[in-house]
Symmetry: C2
Subunit: 101 residues, 2 copies
């Protein structure tokens, strides 16, 4: 059953196009992570935050990714990463056109 991983952390930039240029290679690599389905990249210059919403095929792959990703962010100097794995309520998400596959 698919799982949604919600991640965010304090971040001072770069944002927007500058971030996209720096992290395009990393983004490509995420497509190869086990169980990965998609990621929306979230950011807020105003609130100095960044993060992502991910869909994974199962809990095991979501957990493994978050563990790896937190360690990678730590190497980039980001020590506190908020992460939460959720079940997706499929019948309700289907009604509201949620992209859950």
């Amino acid at each position: 059953m698919v799982k949604l991983l919600q991640v965010d952390f304090d971040f001072t930039g770069p944002f927007g196009e500058e971030m996209a240029e720096k992290l395009a290679g990393l983004a490509e690599s995420i497509n190869s992570e086990p169980g990965f389905i998609w990621k929306i990249w979230t950011e807020s210059r105003k609130d100095q935050l960044a993060g992502g919403i991910y869909l994974f095929e199962d809990e095991e792959s979501a957990n493994a990714y978050f563990k790896m990703h937190s360690a990678r962010l730590k190497e980039m100097g980001i020590n506190e990463v908020r992460g939460q794995i959720f079940d997706v309520n499929i019948p309700l998400s289907t009604i509201t056109k949620g992209p859950v596959d």
Copy 2:
């Protein structure tokens, strides 16, 4: 420009199919909210949480929805709702197959 609204709150249930039966009508109504594009319904029985990931057409509609939704949750006895509006990094999300339209 689209905005992503990330919402979660402490929740004791109902979850899953029982929640879906109770809230199907509410879900239908959300499709008519101004600027609404889609919602994924998130829940965690294990961590006693519920929430949603929403895509809106712009910041104004995301803000208005969150204000209304927080008030509605308050009427249901849920006083503390965490909500954050994010920009979406479109180039990176496109690489990682994120459903951003």
